[in-house]
């Protein structure tokens, strides 16, 4: 792609990228992921080609994750070893996911590919989001501490000689044969909906038994590795718009540090509350555009005005998801600050 093919930046675009970068960074610093689902369509709405939007998003993702991971490492929340093991299998997961995407696009066209992505959003985020929400409500109502799930207790009890690894910060000793598939699933989801953390963080909490603080912090290590690899891949094709990436980074580094600091202010279950809220609103947002994709596939018919309306409402819900996440974090921090 030639340099002339990249968009000319105007003031409103700059302000938009910095603000969304800040809010996305805030949520990422707190729950380990987030922001990508708004930034990519947001950049596309500014006229950025889809592939450049994805590439530029990735180019801001890995430095943001690096800064967030460093900050949370200072608070003793990052299990680097767990993050690197997860990241090692996330990379093949991403390749496999990208292959599935290409097959779907070849067989069913662009509309089929969009439908596949939206359904993945809706199914995964609804199931996992409801599960995380139920757990957060249970912890809040009963006032109990985070407890290891029955599944995680079983996983920790399984002894497979030669595969057992101790993760010191996460206070876990589990077989790598459970860690690697989880990392693979994280990569697979990352290549499908751009936010692997929606599987990675709940997986580390409910499958391995890590606390929400450690899981969300460790996810930043995975995001760094995935983001770095993805950026290199797109940079080899000359597709990264470094201006867009650095503008997002301008806001997101303020946000990611604030989000990381926020984890030391609030009770750990708030991470689950924010994660569940964001996931469920995003699922709703993507559910709204499923009829649009079905119309594009010729399965049903919709008027042009209805399609535009559904797409706008869907994007509005995406922004709402991020804004809700950010508001809950800031409100929880302020409440905690006043009670101190």
């Amino acid at each position: 792609m030639s340099a002339e093919a990249f968009i000319a930046l105007e003031l409103h675009s700059v302000v938009f990228l910095v603000i969304v970068g800040f809010i996305g960074g805030l949520v990422s610093g707190f729950i380990g992921s987030g922001g990508a689902f708004v930034l990519t369509p947001g950049m596309m709405s500014l006229g950025v080609p889809g592939v450049v939007a994805v590439a530029s998003n990735l180019c801001h993702k890995f430095p943001k994750a690096l800064v967030g991971a460093h900050k949370r490492h200072q608070y003793g929340q990052v299990d680097l070893k767990l993050g690197l093991w997860m990241a090692a299998s996330a990379s093949p997961g991403m390749w496999w996911g990208a292959g599935i995407q290409q097959d779907v696009r070849r067989l069913y066209g662009e509309a089929g590919s969009n439908l596949y992505v939206s359904l993945a959003f809706v199914i995964v985020l609804t199931i996992v989001g409801l599960f995380v929400l139920r757990d957060a409500v249970r912890v809040y109502r009963r006032g109990v501490s985070e407890q290891t799930s029955r599944l995680a207790s079983w996983v920790q009890s399984v002894e497979i000689p030669g595969t057992m690894i101790r993760f010191r910060v996460a206070k876990l000793r589990v077989s790598v044969l459970f860690v690697l598939p989880l990392g693979f699933a994280t990569g697979l989801l990352a290549s499908t909906i751009a936010v692997g953390g929606f599987i990675g963080v709940p997986g580390m909490m409910y499958l391995l038994g890590a606390s929400s603080l450690v899981a969300s912090a460790t996810e930043l290590v995975i995001a760094f590795v995935i983001g770095l690899g993805g950026t290199l891949k797109f940079a080899l094709g000359g597709l990264v718009d470094v201006r867009l990436a650095m503008l997002i980074l301008l806001g997101s580094l303020f946000g990611v540090q604030l989000g990381a600091i926020g984890t030391t202010f609030v009770k750990p279950f708030m991470i689950k509350v924010v994660m569940a809220t964001v996931m469920l609103i995003v699922a709703l947002s993507r559910a709204l555009v499923v009829p649009v994709h079905l119309e594009q596939l010729g399965v049903m018919s919709l008027e042009r005005g209805t399609i535009t309306l559904l797409e706008r409402i869907s994007f509005g819900f995406m922004v709402l998801a991020l804004a809700c996440g950010a508001l809950i974090i800031v409100a929880a921090m302020l409440r905690s600050y006043r009670h101190a």
Binding site: M1, S2, A3, F6, C59, H60, F62, P63, K64, L66, V67, H70, K71, Q74, Y75, G76, Q77, S145, E146, V169, K171, S211, L213, V214, L228, T231, L232, A235, L236, G237, G238, L239, V240, D241, V242, R243, A245, M246, L249, L250, L253, F254, Q257, L258, I261, T263, T264, F265, K267, P268, S336, A340
Partner: protein, 87 residues
């Protein structure tokens, strides 16, 4: 416990360095975009190296910024896990 002095000087220095990075990027926008989108040789490494540079410089600035503003971590590092266990 004594209150720590706010890192005004590091914030101003890193802030100036961060501003310099951004001014350089946008003052030479055309040249930067022409070089950073080349696919031959080591040119594809430029966006990645820039991202690292900006994350160190601007990351340092934002860290000092929140410290100067007074938004700092509540619990020391090792207390985070123990508090969670207590809760």
């Amino acid at each position: 416990m004594t209150a720590r002095a706010k890192p005004w000087l590091p914030m101003l220095v890193s802030g100036a360095a961060s501003a310099l990075c951004y001014v350089t990027l946008f003052a030479h926008e055309r040249e930067v975009m022409a070089a950073f989108t080349r696919t031959d040789g080591w040119y594809p490494a430029l966006p990645v190296l820039s991202a690292f540079l900006f994350s160190f410089v601007h990351g340092a600035f934002t860290g000092y910024f929140w410290e100067v503003v007074g938004v700092v971590a509540r619990r020391p590092a090792r207390d985070v896990e123990s508090q969670e266990l207590e809760e």
